[in-house]
Structure formats: C-alpha cells, structure tokens
Amino acid sequence: MLGSLHTYLALAQKLSFTLGSLIYFVFAVIVVKQTTMMTKNVNDKFNPVLIVLAYLHFALTILLVFLTLTLL
C-alpha cells in the first residue's frame, strides 16, 4: 500500500517536472520571437548579442527538456 503510494508520488513528481520544462520550452520560443521582433523594430549595436543570448537560452531550454526526460 505504502509502496504503491510512493510510486504514485514519484510519477506525479516526474510528470510535474516534465510539464514544467515543456511549458518553459514554449516560453523560450516566445523569448526568441520577442527578441527578433524587438531587434527588427529598433536597431542598435548590441542587437546581435541579444539575438545570440535569446537562442542560447532556447538551446539550454531544449537541454533542460532533454535532461528532464532522460534523467528523471
């Protein structure tokens, strides 16, 4: 009885982490879109760095989703 409860809790934990990382993935896509839109509208010296940072954040989010799915 206690064993199955522990299994359910572990499953819920894993599901919540996976769902969280997937929602965050959507947010990372929006950040890339937002940065692209902003840099298109207002051009300045630092814009290329901002685009690189947005894509770096996106790449790290993919890594997060991958680690969540494989490690947990």
Binding site: F17, M37, V42, N43, K45, H57, L64, L72
Partner: protein, 215 residues
C-alpha cells in the same frame, strides 16, 4: 499627427517636411552643447547615433537624440537577479526539497538558473528597447508590452504645445533623471518620456526646436 500603431504598421508615406531651423538655432551644435557626446551603446542618451535606427524612420529623417530610462532604474531587477542566482546552494535547507533525489535537485537548480537568467534578460530587453527618440521631424515613443506587443506613439514637432520636466523623489534628484511631459495639439494629447536622464536638458532642446521651427 500622433498615432499608436501595431507591429505591422509603418509610417505613412506623406510624412511632414522636416522643420527648417533658422540660422540662429544650429541644432547640431546646440544638442552637443547641451548634452555632450556619448558613444556607449548602453548609454541612456545617444546623441546623433550612427548605428541606432528604428523601422518607421523616413529616409530623410535624422535622429538627433535617442533616450532610454536612466541606468539606475535597472538597479531593482539587478539586485533581484543577484539574489535569484545565489539561491540554489541553499535549496538543501528547505524542508521537503531535501527529500528529492540528486537528479531532481540538479534539474531543479538548472531550471532555477534558467528562469533567473530569463528574468534578467527580459528586464534588460524592457529597458533596452524602451526608447524615446527626437528627430528633426518628430518626437517618438516606442514601448514593448506583454512580450509581443509594440506601442508606437509619435507627434510632429510643429504640433508640440508645451514641454515640461518632472523630477520627484530623492533617487531622481540624486541621479538627475525624471519625466518629460510633451503636450500636443492632436488625438494623443500627451507623450511622456519616463525616467530619462537629464530631463531639464531634453526640455531645453525640445523648446529650442519648437520655438526655432515655429518662427
């Protein structure tokens, strides 16, 4: 004519002619004299910027000054960002979190750092792209809200009726930043430059341009 447009809207083709200033009011010399020179891309005030541009600019339009909120307005989110970044090592002392396995703790810390970085990045974007522009034709306020919404407000120099500056509080007085309120004779009756550095000097330049152009 002031207007608020969406991202996809562009400036109308029949834009007003540039205001010709009288010889007594040499705008270039005046701006340099009042504001000085700035070269850093992170500066809150860019004087005759060479690289800076915006999508609605007309070909024959010259950007005199591009302004952002004063750098000190970034202090609250910078402080929050630092606190967020130093939190993960202390997770183990939080009850319930210590029952998580090492893998879960690792993912949680990774997730936390990503959220912290995104928070700082978003705040920086909000500051960096919150720009107020004075050109030889008009005054422009570009704002971005809610991640994907852009607000573009503009008014022609000839429609400006009154310009006032507002510095309130200890912080604004110490760091010399505040708001510039631009009253216009059109649909949007006021454009506000919020928390910009040296508002008194911006008012001086705008008044010089309006008075000079009106004569």
């Amino acid at each position: 004519m002031p207007r608020v447009s969406d991202v996809n809207n562009v400036a109308p083709e029949n834009s007003p002619p540039p205001i010709s200033f009288p010889a007594a009011f040499d705008i270039n010399a005046k701006v340099y004299e009042i504001f000085g020179h700035t070269k850093s891309p992170f500066s809150s005030s860019l004087i005759f910027p060479k690289v800076f541009n915006f999508i609605e600019r007309n070909d024959d339009e010259t950007i005199l000054i591009a302004l952002r909120p004063h750098w000190v307005t970034n202090a609250p989110w910078l402080l929050t960002g630092i606190i967020l970044f130093i939190c993960p090592p202390f997770f183990r002392y939080i009850p319930l979190i210590d029952i998580l396995s090492l893998n879960y703790l690792f993912i949680l810390s990774f997730f936390w750092y990503l959220i912290s970085a995104a928070f700082c990045f978003e705040k920086f974007l909000s500051w960096y792209f919150d720009v107020y522009i004075i050109t030889n034709r008009r005054v422009i306020d570009i704002d971005f809200y809610n991640l994907l919404t852009k607000k573009f407000s503009e008014t022609e120099l000839s429609k400006i009726q009154d310009v006032t500056s507002e510095v309130s509080g200890i912080g604004q007085s110490v760091f010399n930043y505040g708001n510039v309120l631009i009253q216009t004779a059109s649909e949007i009756d006021e454009i506000t430059f919020s928390k910009i550095p040296r508002p008194d000097k911006v008012v001086k330049i705008l008044q010089g341009m309006v008075d000079g152009g009106g004569k």
